[in-house]
Symmetry: C2
């Protein structure tokens, strides 16, 4: 029996789950192919290399998320030219949650993959994302900057990277944190609850007035 439900898709589905859980370099091709119930060599046949598989896994999400997120931001700014930072960040919630309709647990998986991607792999993934999705990133940066015009560009550069760190780290360990929160505080959060917790934190940090003494 060949091509039962597409070997390529079976590999991608197994790989994204394992990559999100354990990171890229900690996930071997042998583990992926055994979970996907396909032959080891089929990864190199269909994708060329492990690096290209990683990029394919991320592209499957980015190709969906980036355009819808960009559309949402454009729409919000057309409706309200003075949209707040909180509005801009909140705009991303729905495009993120929509990923759950693309695939089960899509939102969590995507955010964890993004986190792993920025934490690991110095080169090829950063390059892949910025060259393939750079125009969307520029749009996001522009929207945030214009919603907090009292922050100079250089300061905003740092704060957006602080923000990236917050999101990436939180999402990469979201499962563990949710478990601890449930055990210690009886809270039962899903990924949407965590997203809605982090947004006010980010908005406050990004827009806090710059202290000239500390520069």
């Amino acid at each position: 029996m060949a091509n039962r439900s597409d070997t390529k898709t079976r590999i991608l589905d197994a790989a994204e789950k394992l990559f999100a859980e354990r990171g890229f370099s900690e996930t071997s091709l042998r583990l992926i192919t055994s979970k996907a119930e396909v032959n080891l060599a089929s990864v190199n046949y269909h994708f060329g290399s492990k690096k290209e598989l990683i990029r394919a896994v991320l592209a499957r999400y980015l190709d969906v998320f980036m355009p819808t997120a960009a559309d949402a931001i454009v729409a919000v700014r057309n409706a309200d030219a003075n949209a707040s930072l909180n509005d801009i960040f909140s705009t991303l919630v729905n495009p993120l949650l929509d990923l759950n309709q693309v695939r089960a647990d899509g939102t969590t998986t995507f955010l964890q993959l993004l986190g792993r991607g920025y934490i690991e792999s110095q080169g090829h993934l950063r390059w892949f994302i910025t060259t393939h999705y750079g125009k969307y990133l520029s749009l996001f940066v522009k929207a945030v900057g214009e919603s907090a015009p009292h922050i100079p560009p250089a300061e905003m550069f740092w704060r957006l990277h602080f923000t990236l760190g917050t999101v990436v780290f939180t999402m990469a360990s979201a499962d563990a944190l949710t478990e601890i929160a449930a055990a210690d505080f009886g809270e039962h959060n899903d990924i949407e609850a965590v997203i809605r917790k982090v947004i006010p934190y980010l908005s406050a940090g990004v827009s806090v007035p710059v202290n000239k003494d500390a520069m």
Copy 2:
């Protein structure tokens, strides 16, 4: 020639530099021992295993930083019982910068190691830090909590992890970010400048009032 300036120290010095730069699992013992100009087997002879070497590298910093940081926080709270969140965070700056006197580039190295430690290695490092330095961590959490009494404990749990993510991610990529900032904005930041930039961001995020609608 044996024992030229202590093999153990040579290993620790080479290891901490490489670990901070490339992460733990990306740094092989062969690379460490070649940089340290010692024999490969000496790592296992002096430290037992790579895991124990990693812990020894971190302990050398934590043993210095944790007590002085705790003392500083106790002192600030004795001087001003209503110390603000910004005060608490700022109190950590000097203990951090003092690490530059322990070793060249000590502050950056320590923060990057801490970042790598929390990002990588699911188990043994988290366990090592919480069991060996738990009392200091509790003191920090208590001080922060009491400086922002309007934030419920469960919410504070999440915000402190957001904060951890910001710090860890920023420090792990501090070198790259500083370079970009210099190229794009003509800013020339050292590690102290980055620390002083991040503190107001963190204080604002941690202390922003909780929006009941979003819970």
